[in-house]
């Protein structure tokens, strides 16, 4: 945190106008208060990443327990219920608490830098998203720490098919936690996504036209659209489920005429776009890394962008491919099967263009590049098993078998996680000013790569050999023993790989040597600024002349220098760099939401016992939230101005610049 907090900050600040106490704006630039009140997109992004990685380790630990249980037939490392909790929480954690926020971390840190902005459009809303995400994460996980008969961790599977989630079959509050937690995560994601959309559309530096945006920014934009358009569906589904559980409505209640199949539709209307929410940022990252290390622009930029958009759009038209076995009728099944196959085309286009990018380049085999190449290979395999699923009759044999588990881990780990790990390595020098050792980076890559394939490749065979998923045990005579054993060993190797990866990252963060500016000889704007990035990002808002803006600048030095000097003058005349004030109220509002949600999840459909504290808790939380939001709106979106002196060092106020 150090590296971030102590960024190169030499400036004179204007003091804030006098204000009543509650509207006083926090000014801490380090320490706990700073982290709680920060509106700096880089710090918020860092926190997102930090929490996400913690949850990734938690989810990974759960996965290792799952694999340990399945190592041998009929083992009893876990009880049935523990196992069911484990995979439910593993899926939920990995998807909502690890990969999505890790994506959000990159959106936050990198996207504004790539478009030449000083912050996101709504800095406090950004903080609110972060803290609401934390509230959701707490609620989803809180059940682990409560007695498991009446509370407990969720155990209805990550897509919580009704009616297994109804009060009748799942009376414990575990399911209420799951519902409420997901609800909050949805709110957080939508708020963040709206922010990113406005930022990308409206905060671009001059000259940064839409068709000059780095592909990662494009993918951020498309992902954000997917979020705001798909999350409402699950929000409604969860509201309906909550109403069923707390107020006795009949949405999924068969005795009242409800149709549980409706849940599946609503869930997957969200769920399929969700998987593209997980993969598109990854594709964006890879589309940044490959050109950089091939020393060539991305091959077929417009087509890559367009294919991303069409993947996003088509993603809304294929949800029922998760429901091929629910008896939709032949026509509907056929329609969804064909629509699903169509997605192979835009996805293929991306793969081809990545290969085109490599073609004729000078490939530098650095760690990020290794992960990016690994991504292409692994994602291709995952995509192909996806295509096998899309052939609906064949899927009747594969659905809910380990073949699906293999498919989605290839796209999720081999896809999303590989690319995210690549991204961490790639942008680490920028964010922290330190570089991870190539040796340890590559070693971790190989261990992860081998561990991953050893874990999940055999699972294809398990699935085709009839092993159902979500089973805590199996008989020894089914022909599944060897594959399960290998898979478990693989997962340990994978775990060791991950361990190496993260230990090395943390080590570098603490002890690594400082490195210079623009280590990779990058192509996009984020590399044009010092590392770690100063609070204000850009001394002068850059003017963009070409697609790989920084590359262009590097090759047109004089022209740019002249231009920048002019801009700097203009900006100084305008009062200097405008920076938003920090604020505690987003945190207060989210905290209120957390309290209220805990209260609400504790309601029973027959609210007699303990109704007072539950109601009290909910109301208190509601009031805290309201106060937070109200004061937030009252304090206004003001800020202060920074005046950088000419060379951005040796300012009048702080005579001694820190040595680097």
């Amino acid at each position: 945190m150090d590296a971030l907090a102590k960024s190169d900050f030499h400036s004179k600040e204007e003091s804030a106008p006098a204000k009543p106490f509650v509207l006083w704006r926090p000014t801490a630039k380090s320490g706990l208060i700073d982290w709680l009140t920060t509106v700096d997109h880089k710090k918020i992004g860092f926190l997102y990443g930090f929490f996400a990685l913690i949850f990734f380790l938690v989810g990974g630990f759960e996965a290792l327990l799952i694999r340990t249980q399945l190592m041998f037939p009929n083992s009893d490392v876990l009880t049935a219920q523990q196992y069911n909790r484990m995979f439910t929480m593993h899926g939920t954690t990995m998807i909502f608490l690890a990969v999505m926020p890790l994506g959000a971390a990159f959106f936050n840190i990198i996207m504004p830098l790539q478009i030449g902005a000083r912050d996101v459009a709504f800095p406090r809303l950004n903080a609110f998203s972060l803290w609401t995400f934390c509230a959701g994460a707490i609620i989803v996980n809180i059940g682990w720490f409560l007695p498991s008969d009446r509370w407990g961790a969720p155990d209805a599977g990550w897509f919580g098919y009704s009616p297994l989630t109804s009060k009748g079959f799942n009376p414990a509050h575990a399911t209420d936690f799951w519902i409420m937690g997901l609800q909050l995560l949805g709110v957080a994601s939508i708020a963040a996504a709206l922010n990113f959309i406005v930022t990308i559309i409206n905060m671009r530096a001059p000259g940064m036209t839409m068709m000059r945006l780095p592909v990662f920014v494009w993918m951020t934009l498309i992902t954000s659209f997917l979020i705001i358009l798909s999350f409402p569906a699950i929000t409604i589904a969860l509201v309906e489920l909550m109403m069923d559980r707390q107020f006795g409505t009949n949405f999924f209640e068969v005795s009242g005429g409800g149709m549980p199949i409706l849940w599946q539709h609503l869930f997957w209307v969200f769920g399929h776009p969700e998987v593209y929410i997980l993969i598109l940022p990854a594709m964006g990252i890879v589309s940044e890394i490959l050109p950089c290390f091939s020393r060539k622009p991305l091959y077929g930029y417009p087509i890559v962008v367009f294919s991303g958009a069409s993947i996003g759009f088509l993603g809304f038209a294929v949800w029922s491919h998760h429901m091929f076995t629910t008896g939709l009728g032949a026509v509907a099944t056929a329609a969804f099967a064909l629509a699903t196959m169509c997605i192979a085309v835009p996805t293929g286009v991306k793969i081809f263009n990545w290969i085109g990018t490599l073609w004729g380049g000078h490939l530098q085999m650095r760690t990020p590049m290794m992960f990016a190449l690994g991504f292409i290979w692994m994602f291709m395999i995952g995509g192909f098993s996806g295509i096998m699923h899309s052939a609906a009759p064949a899927d009747a044999q594969q659905q809910d078998s380990y073949f699906v588990v293999a498919h989605f881990h290839y796209v999720l780990i081999g896809g999303s996680i590989f690319a995210l790990l690549a991204g961490i390595h790639y942008w680490f020098p920028l964010i922290f000013g330190k570089k991870v050792s190539e040796f340890w980076g590559k070693l971790s890559f190989w261990v992860i790569f081998i561990g991953f394939n050893t874990t999940f490749f055999p699972q294809h065979f398990l699935g085709l050999n009839g092993m159902p998923r979500r089973t805590f045990t199996y008989d020894p005579n089914m022909g599944w023993n060897t594959a399960n054993f290998i898979s478990t060993i693989g997962s340990y190797v994978l775990g060791v790989g991950m361990l190496i990866y993260f230990v090395v990252i943390v080590y570098t963060y603490l002890k690594g040597k400082r490195i210079g500016h623009d280590v990779w000889d990058g192509r996009t704007l984020e590399w044009s600024i010092p590392n770690p990035p100063p609070e204000y990002n850009f001394r002068v808002i850059p003017t963009v002349h070409a697609r790989d803006a920084w590359w262009y600048e590097k090759h047109h030095k004089e022209e740019i220098a002249q231009e920048q000097a002019e801009h700097a003058k203009a900006e100084a005349a305008h009062g200097g760099i405008h920076m938003p004030f920090s604020s505690i109220y987003p945190f207060v509002a989210s905290f209120g939401i957390l309290i209220a949600s805990i209260g609400i999840t504790a309601f029973d459909s027959n609210p007699a016992p303990g109704i007072h504290w539950k109601l009290g808790l909910s109301l208190t939380g509601g009031i805290v939230m309201f106060i937070g939001i109200y004061l937030w709106s009252l304090e206004g979106n003001e800020g202060y101005h920074l005046h950088l002196d000419d060379e951005s060092h040796a300012p009048e106020t702080k005579p001694s610049a820190k040595p680097h």
Partner: protein
């Protein structure tokens, strides 16, 4: 309490002065359409005709509100595009869902 500086109304936008009247007229129109809708349901025409009529009338109302009250008509087209992405996807999803539940395979069990 308007400060003197701001009382001078902009003259570069021809529509500004007349907006008040446009709004009132549109509101009247919307009220009338609503009235027509209410009467329509009691008319002795074929059901499909009335349904079509209702859908058309509601769409007209919808469009008037978003393009006039919500300014889309005068705003940058990007706002319209943005909103219509959501509208079209939502409409498409609704259509698909209703279609899926209308097919024979999806009929609930007879009770």
């Amino acid at each position: 309490m308007n400060s003197p500086a701001t009382t001078a109304v902009a003259h570069d936008h021809g529509h500004d002065e007349s907006k008040f009247h446009i709004y009132v007229q549109i509101a009247m129109l919307l009220a009338v359409i609503t009235g027509v809708e209410i009467i329509a349901i009691y008319l002795p025409f074929a059901k499909w005709m009335i349904v079509t009529g209702l859908v058309v009338l509601s769409t007209v109302k919808f469009m008037f509100v978003i393009f006039y009250f919500m300014h889309l008509r005068w705003d940058k087209p990007f706002c319209t595009i943005l909103f219509f992405i959501g509208l079209v996807l939502a409409g498409g999803t609704m259509w698909a869902l209703l279609q899926l539940f209308a097919v024979e395979a999806s009929l609930p069990l007879p009770t």
